[in-house]
Amino acid sequence: MKNFKRMVAIVVTLAMTAALLGACGSKSKSTGEKKGESSRDSLVIGMAAEISTLDPHMHSNIGTANLMLAIFESLLTHDFVTDEIKPGLAESYEVSEDGMTIDMTLRTDFKFHNGDPVTMEDVLYSMERTMESAFQNVFWDAVDNVEAVDDTHLRFNLNQPDNNLPYYIADFANIVPKAVVEADPDGFARAPIGCGPYKFVNWSQGMQIDMEADPNYPDGEAPIKNVTWRFITDRSTALVALETGEVDAFMTMNGADFDQIRNTEGLTLKTVSGNNTYYLSLNMEDEVLSNDKVREAICLAIDKKSVIDGAEYGEAKIADHGFIREGQVGYSDNFKEAERDVERGKALLAEAGYANGLSLELKCQSSKTTHAQVIQANLKEIGIDVEIVQLENSAFYADLENGDFQMEFGGFGQYTPDPSSTFRYVYRSDGVMAGNYYRLNSPEIDELLARGEVSTDPEERQKIYEEVIQLVEDAHCCKYIYWPTANIAHNSDLKGVEATPVGEYDIYNYYW
């Protein structure tokens, strides 16, 4: 009897232990693994520009994409630090030899934040949506269609090779749940559902957006559980908020504040050369500036370093290769840019008939007045009197589009590291509205660019773009001055933060 009781006791104990272990086991399965640990579970990250929608297909602003990066996933992932393309929802991708098809294999372990699995139907729907979007359809000119070879194999059929496609796919073609979007597209833009590392929680218009780590994210739950994106338009206020700890990180601080941030204990400033390029444009259709000698003289008078020191607090890099950075297609050590030469500038002006000087107008945005003043001083040295006209953004761009200017100082950002994405806007003669403000009209350059866009031979492309860059330099349509510094300031205890040239920050990597 005693033995029987003991037996029962042992069996019951074992059964209870088994049940307990079983319960523990299933609990840990449902919470999922974490990517890493974090000593604090909340983060407040600030930015100056407020976004107008959380619908990933209704924007074309890479800055806005920061939030999309957290909530959504794309077929591919763009590593903003190295500019590499990595797998995303697609675990592999292959471009055919002739560049006319791209094949991808989808992962099957992704789920949307509402629990629904990510299916081929959602992927096809999302691709169709971005290709029809007024904000994004321009990226997909090379794509004829996207088809499902089978449930997990996707194929892009192109009408011409396109070296920019992987970047556009990674940055803009986020995957959305078809059923949810079709049911209420407006509601979706305000309360989105994606399959990225963070779930949307709340949007207080104009103030902040709250997100929460998704515990079921296949690659591991994000280390920091709660993230708040805070919009602060005034950068002086942002600096104070950083110092008081009301904000843990802020993107794009003013160059004027760099020293203060560096000298503040508890704050760290990370910088890297940004992907914007700032330059002086000369309207080639203007009566005076249509004379190549005048334009060349102006280009020779610009002192790039003085603009950086005088207007960018010394915190920018000299643009010594136009739009192209080292390592990108088109970069060449053989590129010849004329060095500053005031005497030769004066001589050229005299040859052009302006030995007694010349008056020109320089338009700029109100945020770039100091830069304009330095340029004004540079040009005074060769006898050109510059009148500065500063305009509010929309008026400025309106004048550029209409050709209603002589000289203008402004910037343009690369969309992808491949030159074709930028050059189609800034050098093609049919791209006036979007970036060819100086009205460059060269059949030779147009032809080279057309070839470069469709070529799949890296060597051929390198030659083509080297030639384009040199032709543009010799056309004297503009003078490239500097590449500004992209930066992010943050609480020193926050780890995993890196500055990126394009201004995109992957909070999935952050932890305290």
Binding site: E50, S52, T53, S60, N61, A134, F135, N137, V138, D186, A189, R190, S204, Q205, G206, M207, R230, F231, I232, T233, D234, S236, T237, V240, A241, E243, T244, E246, V247, N393, S394, A395, Y397, A398, D399, Y415, Y425, M433, A434, G435
Partner: protein
């Protein structure tokens, strides 16, 4: 009195219509295309045309105006060009913050300026008067956004007593209120002082004193009450000024109010947002002006009789 109020309320309508025409015209004259601002500089002509058609901005200006005003009559303030969300929702969401700020500013500046103004008038040309005059000049001269930033640097950054940003709790309103009150205090105080000085010299004040009334009664019941008319006018006007000043201050302190809504709307040429925000603000100001005018009736029986005689 009732008829007077009704008549004044009806007068608000042509005022608002006039404002709507002026604001709409100014927005139309601004040289940019809302579709272009939304789509960015890399957008194509076709994309801009398509979005303009969707927003209705490709239609003639007059037609757009009547579309907006027609919607207004049905209580529809239109949809923001940028977010496509109903402007009414945004305004209802943000209105309390701005209104609360303006009321706080009015209460604080009145509570400080009237006593100071009265005391200055009684101690005319004394050291107290000189000091308050200098302070008033300083407060008027300071740009509000600079003052706001200075307060933020001192109280938020250095002393860490107050939060720098936000508008969700009462504590967030302290620095913005002080900032906006500064210039109000200065002007109300000067107005009170000069009004009081005029009244004190009147015969009826001498009579009251001669009759042996206590000084406090003379000052408050007889002098101040008569001096209040121009002061109350100034307070009303300053309330309107505060609503405008809120635009800058809300931006500095990152507050969720009508001010930041209006600022963003102007930047992106978001016509429905700008029109609605300005009209709502104007309506508030008209109502406050009306309340100020009604209050005259309570301060001055002669005016009350006038209102009532207009039967």
């Amino acid at each position: 009195m009732g008829r007077f109020v009704l008549k004044r309320l009806l007068q608000v309508i042509p005022v608002l219509i006039g404002i709507s025409i002026i604001i709409f015209t100014i927005m139309q004259l601004s040289p940019s295309n809302p579709a272009r601002l939304i789509l960015g500089e890399k957008a194509t002509e076709e994309q801009i045309e398509a979005l303009s058609a969707e927003l209705g901005t490709d239609q003639p200006a007059v037609k757009q105006y009547f579309n907006y005003m027609g919607g207004l009559l049905h209580g529809d303030l239109g949809n923001s060009y940028r977010t496509r969300m109903p402007v009414m929702d945004e305004i209802v969401d943000r209105f309390p913050t701005t209104f609360f700020l303006a009321i706080l500013v009015m209460v604080v500046s009145t509570a400080i300026s009237i006593p100071l103004g009265v005391l200055s008038s009684l101690r005319q040309n004394s050291l107290f008067d000189a000091i308050t005059t200098i302070i008033a000049l300083l407060l008027t001269a300071m740009p509000s956004f600079w003052l706001g930033l200075m307060l933020m640097l001192i109280f938020a950054e250095k002393l860490q007593w107050l939060p720098a940003i936000g508008s969700t709790e009462f504590i967030h309103f302290i620095m913005p209120t002080l900032t906006l009150s500064a210039a109000n205090i200065a002007s109300n105080m000067r107005m009170t002082r000069s009004s009081m000085l005029e009244v004190i010299r009147q015969d009826y004040i001498r009579t009251a004193r001669a009759k042996g009334a206590p000084e406090k009664v003379v000052i408050v019941k007889h002098a101040l009450k008569n001096a209040l008319i121009p002061v109350v006018t100034a307070i009303g006007m300053n309330f309107g000024w505060s609503l405008g000043g809120a635009v800058l201050i809300e931006s500095v302190f990152s507050m969720k109010g009508l001010g930041t809504l209006l600022l963003n709307g102007v930047r992106t040429k978001d016509v429905p947002v700008v029109m609605s925000a300005v009209l709502v603000t104007s309506l508030i100001f008209c109502v406050v002006t009306l309340l100020v005018d009604i209050s005259y009736g309570f301060i001055d029986p002669r005016i009350k009789a006038q209102y009532e005689n207009k039967r």
